[in-house]
């Protein structure tokens, strides 16, 4: 069930209406059932997988809380984490590792018969696995108590707004809210609905429309000109941002309607002035997860500069692989790691140069924004390309065929005004809450904004119910 489908619209209205109509104590049960229905609408069989990981997480966390011996606690944590990662490995990485191993051994003329699994990747497996691991680690660190109610914990694992593509929630934030005892709050409901509308706009008007052009080029890379590759890559930058942040907005909005606050996942990432800044703004729930559960345990930046760079590279490498079992994601992660390290290493020198030249700070910031955006776009080439070969082909043909451009007017004239609107909204956001501004408008003007948004979606959205990119991760 996609957020941009009629199926979800009916589901959301029905669940929300029932949620506020039934007694408070029945709400968790209702949402648990609804969340399982939501997940099983993709593939009913995979509910077994999520039930299994839920039970393992729950039991391990309870054990972690009760156990006092450090060895026992370590074993319990290892069991819990291994179960989660084991499931993830089997479904997501088994074939990739097998293929890579077979290819590598083939180079030295050793034939290995590695069996390939013919299984469908369960939707959102990386997200709920990481959420579960984060919970167990938090209990292990005694940052939070283990949840006693299995029902509440199960709901924390499968809460439908964020189940399949995040935000990857922290137990400390989400678990206490799973009591679902907040009364109806008109302001929250409006705010949630607004966010959902904005998310849907980003998804169907910008991301899905841009995808038409991007797919045409990236699915058939040969024979296009440099400007065409550039345009496709720029459009992909907005496609993936609007696709994923659109999903996050709908997730956060639909949770807010139910009185649950999810964490922010994006904060105007293309306004970042450095690569580290970009990672403070892009997929925040993942980057903070990687920071807290991987980067810091690896040593963070407290054990010397070289160790810090190594930790960064490992973190970004694993972050890349988290996105998918493909060489393109691996290269993307490594490239991001290299750019992070380079940015950190050169920032003091760059700042000193700027100070010596006496350039206006706004100009420097704008220049850095442009450069960061282009560096990110460079990495998006690997992220989007179907194969690493395709990505290298595009990068090595960027200067071919100037100024010939494959111009799909239907895509461009739909997408450009929408991207412009997106950027205007983001500039406004940087100067204060857009929701507040909207709220300050007189009712007819507010109504006009909502109605305009609805008809933008009706008239200019793409109606093919296309999947969100991050579902595959």
């Amino acid at each position: 069930m996609l957020f941009n489908s009629m199926h979800f619209a009916v589901f959301f209205v029905a669940v929300t209406a029932a949620f506020f109509a039934i007694p408070v104590k029945l709400r968790p049960l209702l949402l648990l059932g609804a969340s399982y229905y939501f997940y099983m609408s993709w593939e009913p069989g995979y509910a077994v997988l999520i039930i299994f990981t839920t039970l393992v997480c729950y039991a391990c966390a309870r054990g972690l809380e009760r156990a006092t011996a450090q060895t026992v606690r370590k074993v319990l944590l290892a069991v819990g984490v291994s179960c989660g990662l084991g499931v993830l490995f089997v479904f997501k990485y088994f074939n990739f590792v097998g293929q890579a191993l077979r290819d590598a051994l083939g180079l030295v003329h050793v034939q290995v018969d590695w069996p390939l699994l013919e299984v469908l990747l369960p939707v959102g497996i990386s997200f709920y696995t990481f959420q579960g691991i984060g919970y167990m680690v938090d209990v292990y660190r005694r940052n939070i108590p283990a949840e006693r109610s299995l029902q509440r914990f199960a709901l924390f694992k499968v809460f439908y707004p964020q189940l399949v593509a995040g935000p990857i929630e922290r137990a400390g934030n989400l678990l206490p809210q799973m009591a679902l005892d907040k009364p109806w709050d008109t302001g929250q409901v409006w705010s949630g609905l607004q966010l959902m509308l904005w998310g849907l706009f980003k998804k169907v008007v910008i991301a899905d429309r841009a995808a038409i052009y991007v797919d045409a080029i990236y699915n058939d890379v040969a024979g296009h000109s440099g400007p065409t590759y550039l345009l496709a890559t720029y459009l992909f930058a907005f496609q993936i941002y609007c696709d994923f942040s659109g999903y996050s907005d709908i997730a956060i909005g639909s949770a807010r309607v139910l009185g649950v606050d999810l964490m922010q996942n994006f904060r105007r990432p293309y306004f970042a002035t450095t690569i580290p800044d970009f990672w403070r703004r892009w997929h925040i729930s993942l980057s903070t997860w990687l920071r807290d559960y991987l980067y810091i345990p690896l040593g963070g930046n407290r054990q010397g500069v070289s160790r810090m760079y190594l930790s960064l590279m490992i973190t970004m490498f694993l972050g890349g692989i988290w996105h998918g079992a493909n060489w393109t994601f691996l290269i993307w992660g490594l490239l991001q790691g290299v750019m992070l390290c380079a940015s950190k290493a050169t920032l003091p020198a760059r700042d000193a140069l700027v100070a010596r030249l006496g350039l206006p700070w706004q100009v420097v910031q704008a220049w850095r924004m442009v450069v960061t955006f282009h560096l990110v776009c460079l990495s998006w080439v690997f992220f989007r390309a179907n194969t690493a070969g395709d990505a290298f082909y595009i990068l090595t043909h960027l200067f071919d065929g100037w100024p010939r451009l494959f111009f799909d007017g239907m895509v461009i004239w739909h997408v450009l005004p929408a991207i412009l609107l997106l950027l205007i909204v983001q500039v406004l956001q940087s100067r204060g809450s857009v929701a507040n501004r909207l709220r300050a408008l007189p009712a007819p003007a507010r109504l006009g904004v909502y109605v305009t948004a609805v008809f933008s979606i009706v008239l200019f959205g793409v109606d093919f119910g296309s999947q969100f990119i991050y579902f595959q991760f």
């Binding site: 489908s5 199926h7 302001g187 403070r280 109605v451 109606d463």
Partner: protein, 374 residues
């Protein structure tokens, strides 16, 4: 955690603080104002929906160009005796002037970029509501009968004719169990088409009865390009049934039908097992429904092996289209499909001069064999 550890992640808390504007408004006034706002919103949406629909619908009926429905309006006005249905390949392969001269009939090329059988079925229904063409030439392609394909989604541009055609209604509603709900919005019929309609409004159709030839020649890089990948696809019986339904509808109205497949550069019937299966299935439908199927193979029209006849591997250029159209005209003539009486109509042996068209050769005979590895 030390603040230094926040290197790769965000600064500060990511948890949204409670916003000042979000003071709970749970009282009767808060709820009442929300319901009032919701009611006003709904009323505005309904009114505006109708208004936008009326404007766009009125404009659309005057549009006669473009792949977003305008050419359907033009085709309906043309009332040609022979109508070509198909995709961009049909649009660029059937030279209507040449066919008109050779067949002595008015011909309209109603091919449309990116479309498949669902679109053709809808257009055929609209035409048959207006009049009865003598002959439908349906340009078929293996990509039309495999799953997954995008053609049902793309046929939603026929939504403008939802009120006119039961066939179109059923087809569009078949996209999903809740599809009808979307079309409660009248303006949704023009989803994704508002800008093209405004662009094409008042632009005269200068095509020669729909035919849109392309000039230019394929370069070597294009000639070496792979054929559209068919791996992982399978025959879709629903597409074949749609074709059979199309044939039956035309015949029930008194029109004749001929299936033709136009050439792709370097691709033959036996280029890969899936293509072969597609062609065999199309032939089976033609046999079952008793309509002729003109299969153009590269042996019977050897000049189509020449890359100079193509703009790209999927599309003939003007010169190639002229040769192909001449060949089609001659086949139709041979079959008597354009006789007013239909007296010479058609055993398949009449047109199958080339043995290969009827009996695919062994695999591997084509240097560009695209069979997926076992």
């Amino acid at each position: 955690m030390s603040p230094h550890d926040a290197d790769i992640a965000m600064a500060g808390s990511v948890l949204p603080a409670r916003r000042s504007h979000e003071r709970p408004r749970n009282g009767l006034r808060g709820r009442r104002s929300m319901w009032l706002m919701a009611a006003a919103f709904l009323a505005a949406v309904v009114l505006l929906d109708r208004g936008i629909f009326l404007l766009l619908d009125r404009a659309f009926r005057e549009v006669e160009v473009g792949a977003f429905g305008g050419i359907i309006n033009h085709a309906r006005k043309a009332r040609a005796e022979v109508v070509v249905l198909g995709s961009s390949r049909a649009l660029r392969h059937y030279d209507t002037a040449l066919l008109r001269d050779r067949l002595g009939k008015t011909v309209y090329n109603a091919g449309c970029d990116g479309q498949g059988f669902p679109y053709m079925r809808g257009v055929m229904d609209l035409l048959l509501r207006d009049y009865t063409p003598e002959l439908f030439i349906i340009d078929v392609d293996p990509t039309f009968v495999v799953d997954p394909d995008p053609y049902l989604d793309r046929a939603t541009l026929l939504a403008s004719f939802l009120d006119e055609s039961e066939v179109i209604r059923e087809m569009i509603y078949s996209r999903g169990p809740l599809e009808r709900l979307k079309y409660l919005s009248k303006s949704f019929r023009y989803n994704g088409r508002a800008l093209p309609i405004l662009r094409d409004w008042g632009v005269p159709n200068r095509s020669d009865a729909g035919y849109e030839p392309v000039d230019g020649r394929m370069n070597q890089a294009l000639a070496n390009m792979a054929l559209p990948p068919m791996e992982g696809k399978r025959l879709d019986p629903r597409d074949l049934e749609l074709l059979a339904d199309m044939i039956r509808a035309a015949r029930a109205a008194g029109s004749r039908v001929v299936l033709v497949n136009s050439p792709r550069y370097g691709a033959d019937f036996d280029s890969c097992s899936i293509r072969r299966a597609c062609f065999e299935s199309l032939q089976a439908v033609a046999d079952r429904e008793g309509v002729p199927y003109v299969r153009v193979c590269l042996d019977c029209v050897p000049e189509l092996r020449d890359p100079a006849m193509f703009l790209n591997p999927a599309h003939l250029n003007r010169e190639g289209a002229a040769r192909f159209s001449a060949m089609v005209a001659s086949r139709l003539d041979d079959m008597g499909l354009c006789d007013a009486t239909g007296a010479r109509s058609a055993s398949q042996a009449d047109y199958s001069r080339c043995r290969r068209c009827r009996q695919p050769q062994a695999r591997g005979s084509n240097p560009r064999d695209e069979d997926p590895p076992a």
